[in-house]
């Protein structure tokens, strides 16, 4: 165990490959709402690995049109550009981060939790009539910093995991004690470098400490969704621990008891199908 926090070198995180240019262009175009669907479809189709995975995901029962989507152009027509953008982003992120070899880090559990947070965030956003696609992407990537650490700084993450198990503290506390930083700060840097929008970057950076706000934000949604996913125990981690819930963020979300019970049910029901489609 490390006694004093050590300065975390980000040199290795900077070596993470960039996302494919088409994803960066897509994120940018959607935020400007001046995108040419044909141009996007043509560019994506040139990347065979990306389009194959995107079609596999688009055809899973989660999206409601299993087995009927045969081209990126058709996927955009049937699912909408923003949903296809989400599918492409998921595919690109899972392809862009080298598979980690990090003792104590379980990649399958990592993705099961991330998928659960994404689904839950989408369900909460729909209940609150906020942007469900942004909430989904933010939820899926909320622990991106941990994945980047597992891939690029496995010894550092292993040390944090050992500390967490030894002291039975939260992972955030363990990271701060051993690294002098944590997955939220690191994930925010990676997401900025990958040109994600400010709502997604903020959710990654602030989901454990949502700032004051006049109304519910994507940060609040991901904060609540993270707690719910831990409480649903979907990752199968024997040392699972539900993090503290910020009362002001919870109250801003303002979910009724009935809404929350439905969100628990829907989230749990959808996790297996989407994990299977993503092959994570």
């Amino acid at each position: 165990m490390t006694d004093a926090p050590k300065a975390m070198s980000l040199a290795n995180l900077r070596e993470l490959p960039s996302l494919p240019q088409v994803i960066i262009d897509l994120q940018s175009a959607i935020s400007r709402e001046d995108v040419s669907i044909d141009a996007i479809a043509e560019t994506v189709s040139l990347d065979q690995a990306l389009s194959a995975k995107a079609l596999r995901v688009a055809n899973c029962s989660f999206y409601g049109v299993p087995g009927r989507v045969v081209s990126i152009r058709q996927a955009i027509g049937m699912l909408g550009l923003r949903s296809v953008s989400t599918v492409l982003t998921i595919s690109a992120v899972s392809q862009s981060i080298p598979r980690p070899s990090c003792p104590g880090f379980d990649m399958e559990r990592y993705w099961r939790h991330s998928v659960a947070v994404a689904l839950c965030a989408r369900n909460i956003a729909r209940a609150l009539r906020l942007d469900a696609d942004v909430a989904f992407t933010a939820g899926l990537l909320h622990d991106l910093g941990r994945l980047a650490l597992a891939s690029q700084e496995p010894a550092c993450l292993s040390e944090s995991l050992r500390r967490r198990d030894e002291l039975d503290c939260t992972m955030l506390e363990a990271e701060r004690a051993t690294l002098g930083t944590d997955h939220t700060a690191l994930g925010g840097q990676v997401a900025e470098r990958w040109h994600f929008g400010p709502a997604v970057v903020d959710a990654i950076r602030l989901h454990h400490e949502p700032p004051a706000s006049a109304q519910a934000t994507v940060v609040d949604i991901v904060h609540v969704a993270d707690s719910i996913a831990h409480a649903l125990d979907v990752a199968g981690d024997p040392n699972e621990m539900v993090p503290a819930l910020d009362p002001t963020a919870w109250n801003r979300a303002g979910l009724s008891e009935g809404q929350t019970l439905l969100i628990l049910k829907d989230t749990e029901a959808e996790v297996d199908g989407l994990c299977e489609a993503l092959a994570v």
């Binding site: 967490r164 831990h230 409480a231 699972e240 503290a244």
Partner: protein, 63 residues
């Protein structure tokens, strides 16, 4: 459904101190899984709005 940062004066459903502070490697009994998941909140003698909802949700599933 709102909640305050209340502290439970008599946390009737909290696990015993020994249970709440059990080493991470000690697997709780299946019936205690919910208390185990919320052990950080219970150690602080606070309430977590999701805990009672989860108890009810799991109860509905089992019914």
């Amino acid at each position: 459904m709102t909640y305050e940062t209340a502290t439970l004066a008599h946390p009737a459903k909290s696990p015993s101190p020994a249970q709440a502070q059990a080493p991470a490697s000690e697997k709780p009994a299946q019936g205690d899984r919910l208390a185990w998941l919320f052990r950080e909140t219970l150690r602080r003698h606070q309430v977590h709005p999701l805990m009672e909802l989860l108890r009810r949700y799991r109860g509905q599933e089992g019914a």
